[in-house]
Symmetry: C2
Subunit: 242 residues, 2 copies
């Protein structure tokens, strides 16, 4: 499995993904699930992936190919589409096509493969937007009422987000919140694993503002994790029983 | 869905269940999922249920019937079985039988129905034991390494248990922990709902030590919930960002 979370806030977009993929429990690998596309100063798009690696890799390969054509087609290149909504539609259509292709092959073995994506970004002249794209290619969008989207193993890390995230949350606090949400997931579910990829896109910057990989041995993440554990235990001790 | 959690601790057993059942989203009802059987001073057994109501009600009815026979059969009555392991075997076999009966009916409609149970208790002369019984009737047992078992919507409430529960946890702290675990689940998942049923069985008491229903309007639970939210937000604010 996977855990990816995206926040759409007044000040910008914060995205975090893990990197664990597994085919069964005895075949665990590290694959990037965070992909960025940008035309700095004009447009920035980030895509996070969950689900079958064969589907997500082929989808990303097709999307990338379309952006690199000599005469890019704005109905196929996400770097040239006229709006973020069109970007989501292109990605949704590509995902649906790939899913269909792969499923035809797999149906002979009575197997299936699906994937979900989170797509976030902004183009000059438009607002920041963030979408969750379903395997069938349809999608939903983050709003002020629901400023975060999750794919993969989303349940462990949802309570902290439900409690602390609002559209007004600062980018710094938001980074902390997604890391703590991930930390809860890492502790409780083996199928989500380090390293992590963190991306921040500040509003109206039209570029990746910060991007970093947090490795398994990252001492500051380990400190954050310990501090959160200690703080939770303290909080728990202080609460009076019923 | 449902959320039920059971802790097997050095000082005793703590069990908490919600009461929401739903057939679709437009048909929500309250049904008890916590059932106790006891022969005070000799034996106490608690069963929590998750899954299809038709399966769990029929299973409980058959188990109850077997305990009320004039000449109870120790291979069928959980109040007369010679050990907690035998109790788990009787319950597992009953659940598997009921599941098979119901599934034969439902298979004509291409539907299926399953249920899982948590069974905990102690008989005089034996240790406290707690089992998670799968729809097929097989089961696993809580141990010192893994002193809690969950059924239903278990993911939201797992991180807090992973962090604070050890076999040495006091019964008072354990009550608090299961209530906070439930609180996180209630907030993040509509299919889990108030009221709650809490049962505590102290070690070597061979009776239900405390049993209470916590209603939706319970002011002390609301306070606990608010205090935990505040404590979590405080803890979150205090943590330094990466």
């Amino acid at each position: 499995m996977t855990y990816c979370v995206g926040l759409l806030l007044d000040q910008g977009i914060v995205l975090l993904s893990d990197t664990r993929t597994n085919a069964g429990l005895d075949n665990i690998s590290i694959y990037r699930k965070m992909f960025t596309f940008s035309n700095d100063g004009e447009r920035v798009i980030a895509i996070m992936t969950a689900g079958s690696l064969s589907v997500t890799q082929t989808t990303l390969a097709r999307l990338t190919e379309a952006t690199e054509e000599d005469d890019p087609d704005e109905t196929r290149s996400i770097l040239h589409a006229p709006s973020m909504l069109k970007v989501a539609q292109i990605i949704g259509a590509t995902l649906a096509d790939v899913t269909t292709d792969v499923s035809i092959k797999l149906s002979r073995m009575n197997q299936s493969a699906t994937a979900s994506l989170i797509v976030a970004g902004q183009r000059r002249g438009g607002p920041m937007r963030m979408f969750l794209i379903y395997p069938e290619g349809n999608f939903i969008e983050a709003t002020r009422d629901t400023p975060f989207l999750q794919i993969g193993e989303h349940k462990y890390g949802k309570p902290i987000l439900d409690r602390v995230i609002t559209p007004e949350t600062s980018l710094e606090d938001a980074e902390k919140a997604v890391l703590l949400s991930m930390d809860s997931t890492l502790r409780s579910n083996l199928s989500v694993g380090m390293p992590l990829d963190l991306v921040v896109i500040e509003k109206d910057s039209f570029r990746i503002s910060r991007q970093r990989r947090i490795e398994a041995e990252d001492e500051r993440f380990a400190q954050l994790s310990r501090a959160w554990s200690d703080a939770l235990r303290d909080a728990y001790q202080k609460i009076e029983s019923l």
